[in-house]
């Protein structure tokens, strides 16, 4: 029999970026908030300090900051005709674990989506006609506009201390920035990081190709900074240990650095670590969530009633929790009915390597997660898709995230895979290989979705999530097209150019990105979405679902800026519209 605790105003499931932001905003609004985190607590000091943190084997190779798949994983298949098997070793994507979640080990590449992304179906229909959307693509409008979300992008970027050059200030195109970005109400709170040589070479070649390079907006701090919450951050020294690592310098925006210092210890906030939520308790008659049930650190089952429940776990973990809780109608790929699990999308990645002369010194060890220069000339609706046969796009970036010794060994494809020849080639190419990332959009397809696995269960006996995914033809065409543009730029940089294209079936083995999106999507009606424009569940008005699982498609940008902006947007709606009069904020 579960122990039943007194009711609180808000219970948050997961304490990463969105949990931390909601905790701050809702305690400020006077609510009593409990944050449930299945991992343990951790802080910059002492948990992320070097040299311990600069252990590439432990963290980058063995995934020391990621969710252990022996406690919970998911099963995977490409098509419904296959039997999904459990992912027993993380690969393609790396869900984080412990306080701060993936907000600790992210790179800090902080992008806004385009205005057209929020109204994609209407926009494409109007600009090209319905035929541009390939059969089977379930693209839809998001239910809110970029203009509505803009102040919250701005605020999240201020909380993170993002560095960059504004490209579009209130509609005026600015020199040095991204001319294709949507209008910003303010410049970035901080300047960009100094750009490395590789980025300068890329920028020059990109300009020759007619593109418009600019420094990537970065959550790696470019100077000392105090954010609107009063949290102090320090500048990045380009140590090259961002992705898959915690930052020892208070220099990468994270919940620990930017939000939690003003939340932990607050009289209206309680953090409970070691607490694994197994169900959102649901009153089907009353159409409201009554709280959550979790397993605490002692293995006891606890029920925490709450007036508001917010799912703040990683993208697909939120979807799984909704499925386990029986809230909403699971998506059926055969009929197209149901919404929960629908429109699971990913990111369509490819890359181009330029093996330059040996006397070129790029010093790749000098890096940071978002250090680099990019072009958006072929992303989203920045270019005309007429006659191309696909929608969406990608940015091309020359990132320099770090040249760590175990995993950075760029060699041409004709190099022996081991032995003296391989070693010689690594030595030859380590310091003179420039890598371009082609970071592409992912369009929803009716065959790509999430549901519960009929066979496999987690360590608590609950069904695993089952992922069914392959890259739609649209995205393969898109990726090829933009990879061609990247190859053109690479040829202008000079050197031996090799492209790693998006070929074959999607595989969960090689790392691609941890940008798993969709599955509990937002939209205009309960028929096509799980949550409304305020991330409020259509079937339970006191249940809010945060994160990238609410994206109806995944644009060609990293998702975190929009995750943060949407959380702040939802928090504003809860605070100003919902608390005083709890109800569905959008009529169904």
């Amino acid at each position: 029999m579960a122990q039943r605790l007194p009711e609180v105003d808000v219970v948050l499931v997961g304490m990463g970026w969105t949990g931390a932001l909601l905790a701050k905003e809702l305690t400020d609004a006077g609510l009593k908030v409990v944050g449930l985190e299945r991992g343990r607590a951790r802080q910059t000091v002492p948990d992320f300090q070097s040299p311990t943190m600069h252990d590439e084997l432990r963290y980058a190779v063995r995934h020391g900051l990621m969710l252990d798949p022996s406690t919970e994983t998911l099963t995977f298949r490409n098509f419904t005709s296959q039997t999904a098997l459990p992912i027993r070793q993380l690969g393609s994507f790396l869900p984080g674990v412990n306080l701060g979640g993936a907000g600790v080990h992210w790179n800090g590449q902080t992008w806004r989506f385009q205005e057209s992304d929020f109204v994609l179906r209407s926009h494409l229909r109007q600009r090209y006609g319905e035929d541009i959307i390939q059969d089977g693509l379930t693209i839809q409008d998001w239910g809110l506009t970029y203009a509505e979300l803009e102040p919250f992008y701005d605020r999240f970027e201020r909380i993170c201390g993002i560095g960059g050059i504004v490209g579009n200030l209130r509609g005026e195109i600015q020199p040095g920035g991204d001319p294709f970005e949507p209008p910003r109400s303010n410049p970035f709170p901080n300047p960009p990081m100094p750009q490395p040589y590789a980025a300068a070479l890329f920028a020059r070649a990109a300009e020759q190709a007619g593109a418009h390079p600019f420094p990537v907006p970065t959550a790696n701090l470019s100077r000392p900074y105090t954010n609107p919450y009063g949290c102090a951050m320090q500048p990045c020294n380009a140590c090259g240990f961002c992705e898959r690592f915690g930052c020892e310098h208070f220099a990468k925006a994270s919940p620990q650095v930017c939000v939690l210092p003003k939340v932990l210890g607050h009289e209206r906030f309680e953090l409970r670590t070691g607490s694994t939520v197994t169900r959102v308790n649901y009153d089907r008659q009353g159409k409201r969530a009554t709280g959550v049930t979790y397993i605490n650190g002692r293995g006891q089952e606890v029920e925490q009633p709450a007036a508001i429940v917010a799912l703040c776990a990683f993208s697909y973990h939120n979807v799984r929790l909704l499925l386990l809780s029986g809230i909403g109608t699971p998506y059926d790929p055969r009929s197209g009915e149901g919404t929960l699990g629908k429109n699971y999308t990913y990111q369509t990645m490819s890359g181009v390597s330029v093996f330059m002369d040996p006397d070129v010194n790029l010093n790749p060890y000098m890096g940071a997660g978002a250090l680099g220069t990019a072009v958006n000339d072929w992303n989203g609706e920045a270019f005309d898709h007429s006659g191309l046969g696909f929608v969406g796009g990608a940015y091309i970036a020359a990132y320099q995230t770090g040249g760590r010794p175990i995993e950075r060994h760029p060699v041409p494809q004709d190099t022996p895979r081991w032995g003296a020849g391989w070693k010689q080639a690594v030595r030859r190419h380590y310091n003179s290989t420039l890598s371009l990332t082609v970071h592409g959009s992912s369009m929803p397809h009716r065959g790509n979705y999430l549901d519960l696995d009929p066979t496999y269960r987690d360590s608590l006996g609950n069904p695993l999530l089952r992922m069914t995914f392959d890259f739609p033809a649209n995205d393969r065409l898109m990726s090829d097209y933009v990879t061609d543009r990247a190859v053109d730029i690479a040829n202008r940089i000079g050197g031996k150019v090799e492209a790693a294209r998006r070929t074959g079936l999607y595989s969960v083995v090689p790392y691609q990105t941890t940008h798993n999106t969709g599955g509990a999507i937002m939209g205009q009606t309960p028929r096509d979405s799980v949550v409304n424009r305020y991330l409020q569940h259509w079937d339970a008005h006191n249940l809010f679902v945060m994160g990238a699982c609410t994206y109806p498609h995944n644009p060609g940008y990293n998702p975190t800026d929009t995750v943060g902006a949407l959380a702040l947007w939802a928090a504003r709606a809860i605070r100003d519209d919902y608390i005083g009069n709890p109800r569905p904020l959008v009529p169904a």
């Binding site: 000091v45 002492p46 000392p224 320090q234 500048p235 030595r427 030859r428």
Partner: protein, 235 residues
């Protein structure tokens, strides 16, 4: 593939050569000789500005007087400090006129000279002090302070403060008075940080006087190893 061959052969020639290749160019004998002359008083101030008088020809400094050790620092670091003294960016009533009286070449050469001097092994006697203070300093060095929002010193300055070339100076074995004076100068705004980062000014501002004494004592008491030349990468 052909251009790689000479480099590969060079690297195979031996670990010493490989180390030089990784750390940068070996110091040129001409520069070292010229730098030694500057250390002996060939700079614009003559004997009055002779480096050796305070820092020794071996670059060991004088702990009792708070004169820092120069041996084993990177040439880049030493050169940058001389440039900053010369321009007044790093204010110091003694070093400013000495550095300003040197020619740019002299500042460069003397930096290479001292970078080429191996750090001396710590003598038997180590600084005495309150063990609790020393322990606190060691904690600050290794993990920083959550309370102050300060990261570990060794994140940048290397384990035990041995320095990370070419940017981050060696702290191990430096006089406690010298280290404390620098931290106080940053904290009080007398020594400006490096724009736009202000790493040390930012960190020192968070430290209490106790922290400063503790961390200075700690680094002063770290044993330095006898052979650890920092050749730097200056041409």
């Amino acid at each position: 593939m052909r251009p790689a061959l000479p480099l590969a052969l060079l690297l195979l020639a031996g670990t010493a050569a490989a180390a030089v290749e990784l750390l940068g160019n070996p110091p040129s004998p001409r520069q070292v000789a010229s730098g030694r002359a500057v250390a002996a008083g060939a700079g614009g101030q003559g004997q009055q500005g002779a480096c050796f008088a305070c820092h020794g020809f071996d670059g060991a400094g004088q702990a009792a007087a708070g004169f820092p050790a120069l041996a084993g620092q990177s040439a880049e670091y030493l050169h940058e400090q001389l440039e900053r003294y010369a321009s007044g960016a790093r204010p110091n009533p003694i070093m400013q006129p000495i550095a300003a009286a040197m020619t740019p070449d002299q500042r460069r050469d003397v930096s290479v000279y001292y970078a080429a001097q191996p750090p001396q092994a710590s003598a038997g006697a180590r600084p005495q002090g309150d063990p609790a203070l020393l322990q606190h300093g060691g904690n600050l060095s290794a993990i920083g302070s959550a309370e102050r929002g300060v990261q570990a010193c060794q994140n940048c300055h290397g384990p035990g403060g041995i320095g990370l070339w070419p940017n981050y100076p060696r702290l191990a074995g430096q006089p406690a008075d010298y280290l404390a004076a620098q931290l106080r100068a940053w904290k009080q705004g007398e020594r400006p940080g490096d724009e736009p980062y202000n790493f040390m000014a930012n960190i020192a501002a968070r430290l209490t006087e106790d922290d400063i004494r503790a961390v200075s004592l700690y680094f002063a008491s770290v044993r330095t190893v006898p052979r650890q030349a920092g050749t730097g990468v200056l041409p």
